[in-house]
């Protein structure tokens, strides 16, 4: 099995490289035509990517909408709607040249006015994550119909990393200008520039996209149509794949023990490529505000007590790898030159004693995302019990989990977050003082505050020289690993299950969230 995985990953890596270097139309040697049946879970609330950014929306709408840039697996920018980009020496002025001849699905041309409208007006109002990223931007101007200029207030290190379709989807100005974005009836029939057009959504059953025959890349897309089937039960999704009714199951949609079994079926395969940009990173929130969790030694004891290897191997069936710190190994400036916490129950017990832990029962909130997370929580509880920490599990559904974390009503809680390629985009928000705010389960929920860390993350964001950034982030990682604001658990390698008759399903660092434009059916 190990070797098999390795070969499959190797093959996927090779296609990734080819894609990065070779013009897309050469790939069109793949057979044209056919229908892809995929699974989407759960049913998305909407497909207008500028308004909704949750996972199922991105999976589907990434085929309809496009961003200015795409990214390869090393998070290097690739052209998409922008064909080239330049910056001044200070890194405060970026000029993008747009691709000529791009049309919206309703036939209107895509121009720089759409870019300005999308970034400066529409998304600034609707997209919380982009709004945070745009804080560094002074102005966005259209120089001519195919040139856009972004002027920054200060050099913003990760600037070229915020243009992926989920982070900054281009939305049509001619449809949305002057309307109430949230209730515009056009949201029901999304219009983008992407390789697939919205066809039909039968609520509760399926969503159908069809090939955009006026797409701006020649001979692309290859398949005629994609159906995203809505199958609410994980076991039924597994059965649907097993019986051949669906060809493509995105990561997390079937339980991991099923992935392993299903990937061994004839004509089936699995890949973990396509998550490099998101770099999903799991940890245990530790409520730093309360005793005994406010004691560094207690938190270090947790790190020593947890058997990450076992969780990855048993609960995640190998589709996760132990995390070594706050940075996922796929994102920039990740370093292994930091304090290590190999499992050691004796050290954990000693630290617990030094921390003055007296056997209080702590409330732990597992993540209500299926069996795998439940099993992870059970293993972790057992690990902590071996070191002498008493745990009481608190069961919730997703809404309850959100609320408890929003209001900091927990002792320990599971989570995972995306890191978006750069520490300034996906890591800093979880540790800086300015991000301690009730109402979101994805900011500094643990309540950790350290002026040194604040200063380092601030400096890292405002620096454009990669080497200087590396030094800054190494220092930040060292401090965080000494103070352990949260207990890092594992990097998730979400497995995409597919039939081998499909090829080129993953073509960039955002995997299936990018379009299936290069996918073909043998």
């Amino acid at each position: 099995m190990k070797r098999r995985n390795l070969i499959q990953m190797g093959a996927a890596a090779a296609t990734g490289l080819t894609l990065a270097g070779v013009p897309l139309h050469l790939l069109a040697a793949g057979k044209k035509g056919g229908v892809i049946n995929a699974v989407v879970q759960p049913e998305p609330p909407g497909l207008m990517m500028g308004i909704t950014q949750n996972a199922p929306t991105q999976l589907i709408a990434g085929n309809i909408y496009e961003g200015l840039l795409r990214y390869d697996e090393k998070i290097t920018p690739l052209p998409s709607l922008a064909t080239s980009w330049t910056s001044n020496k200070e890194g405060t002025l970026f000029t993008f040249k747009l691709k000529p001849g791009v049309l919206w699905h309703d036939g209107k041309p895509f121009t720089s006015a759409d870019v300005v409208f999308s970034a400066a007006v529409f998304l600034r109002k609707t997209h919380a994550r982009l709004r945070a990223n745009l804080a560094a931007i002074e102005s966005i101007k259209a120089i001519d119909p195919l040139t856009v200029e972004f002027k920054l207030k200060y050099p913003f290190g990760p600037f070229l990393g915020i243009f992926e379709v989920g982070s900054m989807p281009m939305v049509p100005k001619h449809i949305y200008e002057g309307t109430d974005f949230a209730t515009n009836p056009a949201n029901a029939t999304p219009i983008g520039t992407g390789p697939f057009k919205f066809k039909e959504w039968v609520k509760g059953s399926y969503i159908q996209l069809v090939a955009n025959d006026k797409y701006h890349v020649k001979d692309v897309p290859l398949v005629d149509s994609i159906y995203f089937h809505i199958i609410p039960d994980a076991a039924s999704r597994a059965a649907a794949f097993e019986s051949g009714k669906v060809d493509l199951v995105p990561g997390g949609a079937v339980e991991y023990f099923d992935v392993l079994r299903l990937s061994k079926l004839p004509g089936a395969a699995v890949t973990t490529k396509g998550w490099e940009f998101f770099a999903p990173h799991a940890w245990l929130w530790i409520n730093n505000r309360k005793a005994p969790m406010d004691n560094i030694k207690f938190r270090q004891a947790m790190m020593f007590a947890i058997d990450r290897e076992a969780i990855c191997k048993v609960a995640w069936q190998g589709f996760a790898k132990p995390a070594t710190g706050p940075f996922n190994s796929n994102i920039k400036f990740h370093s292994t030159d930091v304090a290590k916490y190999p499992r050691n129950v004796e050290t954990a017990k000693k630290l617990l004693a030094e921390a003055g832990y007296k056997g209080e029962t702590l409330r732990m909130l597992p993540l209500p995302y299926g069996e795998t997370w439940t099993r992870s929580a059970e293993i972790l509880r057992q690990n902590l019990a071996q070191a002498g920490v008493k745990i009481e599990m608190v069961a919730t559904d997703v809404a309850g989990w959100n609320q408890k974390l929003n209001e900091w009503d927990y002792d320990l809680a599971f989570t995972y977050v995306y890191q978006y390629g750069d520490p300034a985009l996906g890591v800093a928000r979880n540790y800086t003082t300015a991000n301690i705010a009730k109402g979101s389960p994805f900011n500094n929920v643990e309540g950790y505050s350290n002026p040194k860390i604040d200063a380092l993350f601030d400096a890292g964001a405002k620096e454009s020289d990669p080497e200087k950034r590396r030094a800054i982030y190494l220092q930040a990682q060292k401090i965080l690993l000494d103070e352990v604001p949260v207990a890092w658990l594992y990097e998730i390698n979400f497995p995409t299950l597919y039939r081998t008759k499909l090829s080129n399903i993953v073509s960039s660092a955002i995997g299936l969230n990018d379009s299936l434009s290069t996918a073909s059916i043998a």
Partner: protein, 324 residues
């Protein structure tokens, strides 16, 4: 005349009950931790106070709860079920889109369970004590005790994955473009497994109940009289025993009919049947308040309606029962 008056009173009582149910539902739904905004914000993977405040205002959640309740009841009275912000559609449309699928599923299951339940029960009573009776009893007990979702999953594994006889999910074959009879046949194939699994539990209950009631009635004096008069055994069984034994079955069928929509949640989930049970379940997980309340209300209205129908059916089965 008596019947009209009875109906009017009952309809009025039903309307009051529905309004009370709407109020209680409103409070219950709000009592669950987490609101639609926190769910949406959580799913987006990022949010800030501005985003949250914006959504709360949009959903009307920034109003005091009494104002929200008053607005809601006011709308219900005008038959306006509100707007689902999550799905960006009027609640009534969402429910009406899903209702036919659910009625088809639960209606078929209802008919199947009654037909087979009563037949098996009658057979069992007729042959009480024989191997036929024992096997029916054992089978009924097994279906009665087996969890519905497990049965459903097993059915999918056997008939879809292993044998490939029946489609395992959905309402019809996606993208087939079939119409008319071809479409009906396609839907029927998709319907068979979910309807049967949903029917099995009630089938077992009806079988057991019919058997017990028939054996009970068979001991009564009027049956002995009929037999003494020389009425043929077949007629005694059908006209005297079965007819009298059916009353408890009708009561139960009324309850089943009223609760059909709620009971379909599990079946609809396993078979990806696009019905109202799943709509309700999703709305609950996402705290889509207006949709959830709308679905509850429609369910409650159905329960009230079926109660009324049950009362009428009583008088048909047993003319001695009077409407008061």
């Amino acid at each position: 005349m008596k019947r009209t008056q009875f109906m009017l009173t009952r309809v009025l009582q039903g309307l009051v009950a529905i309004l009370l149910i709407a109020t209680v539902n409103f409070m219950l739904v709000r009592a669950a931790p987490g609101d639609p905004v926190s769910v949406l914000a959580g799913e987006a993977g990022a949010s800030d106070p501005q985003f949250v405040a914006q959504l709360r205002a949009q959903f009307g959640l920034d109003q005091p709860i009494t104002t929200q309740l008053a607005t809601y009841i006011g709308k219900v009275v005008r038959l306006d079920l509100g707007f689902s912000y999550r799905q960006q559609q009027p609640v009534l449309k969402l429910i009406m889109d899903r209702l036919p699928a659910t009625l088809l599923l639960t209606g078929s299951a209802f008919a199947l369970s009654l037909l087979f339940g009563i037949t098996l029960g009658a057979l069992s009573a007729r042959r009480a004590g024989t191997w036929v009776d024992s096997s029916i009893t054992v089978v009924a007990l097994i279906f009665y005790a087996t969890p519905l979702y497990w049965l459903a999953l097993m059915a999918v594994l056997v008939f879809t994955v292993q044998l490939d006889w029946l489609p395992g999910f959905g309402f019809s074959t996606v993208g087939s473009g079939a119409t008319g009879l071809a479409l009906a046949w396609d839907v029927a194939q998709h319907l068979l497994m979910p309807a049967l699994t949903l029917a099995l539990f009630y089938m077992a209950v009806y079988a057991r109940m019919t058997r017990a009631a028939m054996l009970d009635v068979a001991q009564m004096d009027f049956i002995k009289t009929a037999r003494a008069k020389g009425v043929r055994p077949g007629r005694i069984l059908r006209a005297h025993v079965l007819r009298n034994a059916l009353l408890p079955v009708v009561t139960l069928a009324g309850i089943q009919a009223g609760g059909m929509i709620g009971g379909a949640v599990l079946t609809e989930t396993v078979f990806a049947w696009p019905g109202i049970g799943r709509l309700m379940f999703d709305a609950l997980l996402q705290r889509d308040y207006s949709l959830l309340l709308g679905a509850f209300l429609v369910t409650a209205a159905m329960a009230v309606l079926f109660n009324l129908i049950t009362d009428l059916v009583y008088t048909l089965v047993d003319p001695r029962i009077e409407l008061t």
